[in-house]
Subunit: 143 residues, 2 copies
């Protein structure tokens, strides 16, 4: 998985911050569960299997630290619980309203997500967030 960054790279990005056992476990879990786009409590559930003493608050802290460090991204839709994603390429998310799965949607080659928009002139865009809701191919077949 070329887009996953290494532990060393994470430690680098953490700057002066420590790579604790908990942070490593949380990072591993998010990378392992990537395609599911786990919520904080899914990460907690899985992390506890590996490290039974880890607490939910620590999972939240680690997820925030890792997000700030750029090692993972936080994915939100409406006001549902946040989900986390190890895919660091620019991409969008597709939320299936039938099965609740979340899929990565990649940018086409040479495409620019900001291109179709009349962006406010003189502004600086720091982050772009594209999400869509619908019925995924699997669920459409089942209809």
């Amino acid at each position: 998985m070329a887009e996953q960054i290494t532990d060393a790279a994470v430690a680098e990005k953490l700057g002066g911050l420590r790579m604790t056992k908990q942070r490593k476990v949380v990072l591993d879990v998010v990378q392992e569960m990537g395609i599911e786009h786990p919520t904080a409590s899914s990460v907690y559930a899985r992390a506890k299997e590996v490290m039974p003493t880890i607490s939910l608050a620590t999972v939240y802290n680690c997820l925030e630290t890792l997000t700030d460090a750029g090692a993972i991204t936080q994915v939100n839709f409406h006001r549902e619980a946040s989900r986390f994603c190890p895919n660091l390429q620019p991409h969008a998310h597709f939320f299936c309203s039938k099965c609740d799965a979340v899929f990565d949607v990649s940018l086409q080659n040479r495409a620019d997500a900001s291109e179709p928009w009349d962006l406010p002139s003189g502004s600086r865009i720091e982050e772009m967030n594209v999400a869509m809701r619908g019925i995924c191919p699997e669920c459409r077949k089942a209809e």
Copy 2:
């Protein structure tokens, strides 16, 4: 404001539902405060000036009903409190990280927001949500 729908049109969309005083107040407030993209509690604060007896729960109920009726839209970013928008045209939102203002960003003529993406083939898209965060022109000037 051509894009605002009339009370009659709302009543129409409400189907068998009633156009109560509270719903009318909430709709008026959202349309009046449109550019600010008010949160539920901002709507509540303003609505109470007009109708002191209105309750927060009713404001939430009305906002949901009006959203479902297609009279307004709900705008979310990360896990911040939802904001509401009377602009019914397809558009995106720009959130300024400095001043917390929210701006509408319109689609360029003939542009299609879904075009740059490799959409999952065989899926049906029901809704598309585009948001960006950055520094607005005003705040950049102030820097």
